[in-house]
Point group: C2
Chain length 223, copies 2
DNA sequence: CATTTGTCTATACATGTGTATAATAAGTCA
DNA sequence: TGACTTATTATACACATGTATAGACAAATG
């Protein structure tokens, strides 16, 4: 019925009979993003749904992606780039250690509410989904951790307050922020703000703790 | 074809022609658990799959659960109970603060590899799935946090090392451990062990950090 | 211009899904 | 025993999904 009505529509309208002249990977990716929501993650949307949302025939999908999996990985990588870019920008607006933390977390939370559901892809379902998917998410997280670790080391030596195991500090911060971010996705603005505050305290704990342990044991193992 | 072969089988065998005399919620729940795996989470398995695994007709499912959702929530609650029980037990085997942390994390990681995939239900996909599902997971986490907070307060006052915002320490620990646990699910035993070590250091950071902040600002707000 | 090539669509098929309906077996109690 | 209730199954329907095949149109090429 739907198809019939659609055909009739197209016939009656002045359209040069139904055809998309040029279809982009881009078009498909943004169509897929539109489908994501509080209860829909990448691995629960179907190829046909994406095609429908992009306004193309199901089979046209294959011209651009081999799989839904390939689409998913592409989305993750784009999300990773975007997020790193945004955070990097946030860091440049601030210089002292506490303000860097604050502005990074703030922009992170802002992005959660942004129209493009890119972050959704990263935060949800890193633990389910295909192996390719999980691996792609893991790579983004690791890159994030590395970048953060560099920052932490630089800042803490500048402040004469060296850290014990800055790699683990970076990892803990990353995992914590991403986990809580995923939880905050469908919460209200005030709730998001409250969660952001909590994140900041937690990050502070991690850094102060690492600092304290350094004072006790230096950078060596904890005996 | 499958059905025909099956019927033939059953006819040839000495079975009193195919019927399950008594079916339990229990049977269905454990059948569902068996289906979970690195790439299959509760919200990606179908009612029919569960019925098949339990050896019952699809419709029989409805006599015991209204929904797959109801099944999922039941599984989560059971997982929460089990986990709390196990951890409580671990805590009683140890008394000093560091050893409690160690034994709790160790038993947590042990449970990850246990045959029953209960933890899987809690760790994966807290951020996708139905609202009921998410709410159930959230409740388990919160209970966990509360119990942990009590412990933290008790231990830290005993040790004369009070904490700043023990609630946030508990929340951070919980979220961190669950997030990293979800990641560790399909990793090898050594990897799991390494991750457990990382967790311990992170938890240590959080506690030492909270302690340090308390020394600086007391239990009041951070000015 | 004609031809070829690449892209998108239409149709079709086999399979999986949730669930409605009716039939059947098991359990219970007179 | 027989009647009644309850739990399980069989059959069926109306979808949705991934993808194979073949046809139609546009752009590129000769």
């Amino acid at each position: 019925m739907t198809t019939i009505a659609l055909e009739a529509n197209l016939a009656e309208e002045s359209n040069p009979p139904h055809r998309k002249p040029h279809i982009d990977r881009e078009d498909i990716m943004s169509a897929a993003l539109k489908l994501l929501g509080p209860n829909r993650s990448v691995s629960t949307i179907s190829l046909r749904e994406v095609a429908r949302a992009a306004g193309i025939a199901p089979n046209s999908f294959y011209r651009h992606f081999r799989d839904m999996d390939e689409l998913a990985v592409a989305l993750i990588e784009r999300a990773g780039e975007k997020l790193r870019y945004v955070i990097r920008e946030a860091r440049q607006r601030a210089t002292t250690a506490p303000s860097i933390i604050r502005s990074s977390i703030d922009t992170f939370m802002e992005q959660l509410g942004a129209e493009e559901q890119l972050l959704h892809v990263l935060l949800c379902e890193g633990t389910v989904g295909s192996d390719a998917y999980k691996q792609a998410v893991e790579m983004v997280l690791t890159e994030f951790e590395n970048e953060l670790q560099e920052d932490l080391v630089r800042l803490s030596t500048e402040a004469n307050a060296p850290l014990h195991r800055p790699d683990l500090v970076a990892k803990a911060i990353t995992r914590l922020v991403f986990a809580m971010g995923g939880n905050a996705l469908d919460k209200s603005l005030e709730e998001k703000r409250a969660i952001a505050e909590q994140m900041m305290v937690m990050v502070l704990f991690l850094m102060e703790g690492s600092e304290a342990v350094f004072k006790q044991h230096g950078s060596g193992d904890i005996v």
